[in-house]
């Protein structure tokens, strides 16, 4: 059901929501969080709402979309409420803000937040320079950005590093989870040797590739090298160098990867690129600050640039293998639950 409320106020929206709940029974009960999506009006807002609706099947939430319209227009608030089949397991309130109001999104969002539950802000396209200082960002415990969706992804990632605050997260990081899990489990097997070098290859404008290299730099205490791939999508290859042989994970086509490591036959692994809805559902699972992401961001500057080359990195040029104490602080096993 879609209800349009042109030229309205938040109290009218609220009373309409309460009335819907009275009429429709429990349709708006049991929400676990409020998700605020911030876009410019006319951007692919509906794609973002669809992703949120899908994620809401796992995390029933109230979705508030703040679509900022023309600044020159007369100040006006147009609202649309979507519930039931049009909103997945959530209820969606789309707020279109015009004129001066466009800058005052936070004041329109505030009265619609669910009581006593977490607030998550998501900028599916362009994010503010400092999400935690943004008025809407300040309402939220968790702020999700997507460096890959911005005009200059690598620059955006750099800005995330410069303005990081606990609670920030970026979908470029979420897209790495499968890669990271695969690499971590490859090191669970013998030979139990220190990794002495790490090469990461990916598309030139793939922020995930940079982050993966940074994460490896942070965890392995080596300076990972980042190579630009000439073909392939996103991340293309990771090579972890060890005295007895390399662990090599290659995904040339963006779908199926191949994992090769000494003492093991080479095997195919499903590593398809993750959809936004997948990533969003993962983000909503954890609402506490992601310290591992923060550590990876901090290590971005330590990643070395590798020279452009074809898919297979030959034992590359000068290797500034930074020797340092190995990560003795690393606990044995991640206690993450199944299902994450």
């Amino acid at each position: 059901m879609i209800i349009d409320l042109p030229s309205t106020t938040t109290s009218q929206i609220n009373s309409r929501l309460v009335r819907l709940r009275d009429e429709g029974g429990a349709t708006t009960l049991g929400r676990v969080l409020t998700l605020v999506i911030v876009t410019e009006d006319g951007q692919r807002t509906d794609a973002a709402i669809d992703a949120a609706n899908d994620a809401s099947r796992e995390h029933p939430c109230r979705v508030i979309v703040v679509a900022r319209g023309a600044r020159q227009a007369a100040p006006r608030l147009d609202a649309q409420i979507r519930v039931g089949g049009d909103a997945g397991a959530s209820e969606v309130v789309v707020l279109r803000l015009y004129g001066e109001l466009a800058k005052e999104g936070a004041s329109c969002v505030m009265p619609l937040l669910l009581p006593d539950t977490p607030v998550v802000a998501w900028w599916p396209f362009d994010a503010p320079v400092s999400p935690s200082k943004d008025p809407i960002g300040q309402l939220a415990q968790r702020r999700i950005t997507d460096a890959a969706a911005e005009k200059n992804p690598i620059k955006a990632l750099e800005s995330r590093r410069a303005h990081y605050a606990p609670g920030d997260t970026d979908l470029a990081w979420t897209r790495l989870t499968l890669w990271r899990a695969m690499l971590a489990s490859s090191l669970d097997l013998p030979p139990y040797e220190k990794v002495t070098e790490a090469d990461v290859t990916g598309e030139a404008d793939s922020p995930s590739t940079d982050l993966l290299a940074a994460w490896l730099t942070d965890r392995l205490k080596v300076s990972a090298k980042r190579f630009k791939a000439t073909s392939g999508e996103g991340i293309v290859e990771v090579r972890l160098g060890r005295p007895s042989g390399d662990v090599d994970l290659i995904r040339p086509d963006g779908k199926v990867g191949t994992l090769a490591q000494p003492g093991q036959p080479s095997r195919r692994v499903a590593l398809q690129r993750r959809s936004v809805r997948d990533c969003l559902a993962e983000e909503l699972r954890r609402l506490d600050p992601d310290e591992v992401y923060a550590a990876a961001l901090r290590s971005l500057s330590k990643v070395a640039k590798g020279r452009a080359h074809s898919a297979k990195p030959e034992a590359a040029e000068e290797a500034p293998a930074v020797e340092s104490a190995n990560g003795s602080a690393a606990p044995k096993k991640s206690k993450a639950k199944a299902g994450s």
């Binding site: 029933p60 097997l189 036959p265 499903a270 991640s334």
Partner: protein
């Protein structure tokens, strides 16, 4: 070279909560692979795990059965089972990756050659797929065949491990049919596999709601103060099914509802509801508390009044004409097998003294439901007119295990109007409302736990034996005295009259779930 015990994987970090637990290199061998459970639950669960990226890249799946199949035929069976029953969408890339590790071994349990073939098949998988000599054997077979299979595994050298390898065996209920047979079964299995590598599947323990009982009780401040005999009047644990036993005579005749369900599922639920707070959630600590509470649990006497059993008769149920048990194919027309069983337990601890725990289960009951209801005492004084609280029942906290997983609290509320009238209302928490709609299937969780070697959700041999110690006196009594009589109940009702009598004798009554 350091060993695995000393190795700290630098890429793992306890703070990294996103990182999923991926099973290490391993192969799963399923005996009885042509069975229903295997097709409807195990194979789809394996695919779902693979689809969620939780299986290792070189996972091997080996089917063992009498059928004259080649690997491709078996692969086709798995493929169809996955397409039909998997929870997550079908993804060709994931399937291809999984299919590469699928093998089939044709053979019978008493044939040495078959098990030698299995051994060489597994050796080949280790070499080709890197399964690392880690093998789990899933015995989806009648318990009578356990000794043969287990000893064959031993003979073929499949039970011995080299360092840094593991062998695990997964078995399903029934874990014996009384204390003696359970002990024998444990002995047979433990002779070949040490207890820490035996995983007894009780799929109820893999359900989110059952694990949530621990969160509900031990993560909240709200419930613990009233979780004792000062406030709790009694506890009802129900597992009802609306289906009959057509086609399951071979397994069920002579076993009956009490052995089939109360011994494992319901007594495990009782343990989780009644146990004290574990020191930690480590498997050994959790188990210590379960063992403690089970060893304090006794069946309440006299059995002719505190127990009930029944057998369903045919009739109309939910718009369908259904057969009675005695008409179902495979059952003897004189069968004395009960399809409904109810017992009363007392838990002799300070916390629970005087609180009866009613456990009931049955086939062809009103609807399919599993729930635990903690029913509280009435308020000691009600400052209302008698008429105001006429319709007020007892407060209750209900854990709905399936379907519609969640928690319900029942309490009194004023009926709108200008008179003071109080009536029961409910406050609902639905898992499906507040969390994922598609929470993992119990088998997914349990299979993953087997491959990870995480034993918390699997009952151990002493828990099984303690459950039989609780049940054996009742089963003996029923066999000896034939009291209370095996009563008939109509399909689609909530059991025989003696079930109501056993609660009514102390002024209580069953909830209609």
């Amino acid at each position: 070279m350091t060993t695995s015990a000393k190795w700290h994987n630098p890429l793992r970090d306890a703070r990294d909560k996103r990182m999923p637990r991926i099973a290490g290199p391993s192969a799963l061998v399923i005996f009885g692979v042509t069975g229903d459970l295997s097709r409807k639950k195990l194979m789809p669960a394996i695919y779902d795990l693979a689809n969620r990226g939780l299986l290792p890249p070189g996972f091997g799946l080996v089917g063992f059965a009498r059928r004259d199949w080649a690997d491709q035929d078996f692969m086709k069976v798995v493929h169809d089972a996955v397409k039909e029953h998997a929870r997550t969408p079908f993804n060709e890339a994931v399937w291809q990756q999984l299919a590469e590790g699928i093998r089939f071994v044709q053979g019978t349990f008493d044939d040495d050659q078959s098990f030698d073939n299995l051994a060489s098949c597994l050796a080949q998988l280790d070499a080709e797929r890197g399964t690392g000599g880690n093998h789990a054997f899933y015995l989806s077979i009648p318990p009578g065949a356990f000794p043969t299979v287990v000893n064959q595994l031993k003979r073929a050298g499949l039970a011995q491990t080299a360092p840094d390898q593991w062998r695990r065996v997964v078995i399903e209920k029934p874990f014996g049919h009384d204390l003696k047979s359970a002990k024998e079964l444990n002995k047979t299995v433990n002779e070949v596999f040490p207890e820490e590598s035996v995983f007894r599947i009780d799929h109820y323990l893999g359900k989110e709601t059952v694990q949530n009982i621990l969160a509900l009780r031990f993560a909240n401040q709200l419930y613990e103060p009233i979780w004792n005999s000062n406030y709790v009047d009694h506890v009802q644990i129900t597992m009802a099914e609306d289906i009959g036993l057509g086609g399951r005579a071979g397994y069920y005749d002579g076993i009956g509802a009490t052995r089939d369900v109360i011994q494992n599922h319901l007594l495990q639920l009782l343990a989780l509801i009644a146990m004290e707070e574990p020191v930690s959630f480590k498997p050994a600590d959790l188990r210590a508390e379960k063992v403690k509470i089970l060893s304090a649990t006794r069946p309440a006497q006299p059995f002719e009044e505190t127990t009930s059993r029944g057998q369903y008769t045919g009739g109309w149920q939910g718009g369908q004409k259904v057969l009675g048990l005695l008409e179902e194919g495979g059952f003897s027309p004189e069968s004395k097998t009960e399809t409904f069983g109810a017992i009363t337990c007392e838990v002799n601890t300070r916390r629970w003294a005087g609180v009866p725990f009613y456990l009931r289960t049955g086939k062809r009951l009103g609807r399919r439901v599993t729930e635990v209801a903690v029913v509280f005492k009435r308020a000691p004084h009600l400052p209302f007119d008698d008429t105001a609280t006429e319709e007020l029942g007892q407060n209750a906290l209900v854990v709905r295990v399936q379907p519609d997983e969640g928690v319900t609290i029942r309490f009194g509320s004023k009926v709108p109007g200008n008179t003071m009238e109080v009536r029961d209302v409910t406050m609902d928490f639905g898992y499906g409302h507040s969390f994922t709609e598609s929470s993992p299937e119990a088998y997914e969780r349990l299979l993953l736990d087997v491959l990870l070697g995480e034993p918390s959700l699997f009952p151990k041999n002493d828990e099984v034996e303690l459950s039989w110690e609780i049940l054996d006196p009742i089963l003996d009594f029923w066999a000896r005295k034939d009291e209370p009589a095996l009563e008939k109940y109509k399909a689609g009702t909530w059991g025989p009259p003696s079930a109501d009598a056993m609660t009514a004798r102390t002024g209580r009554h069953w909830r209609r779930p």
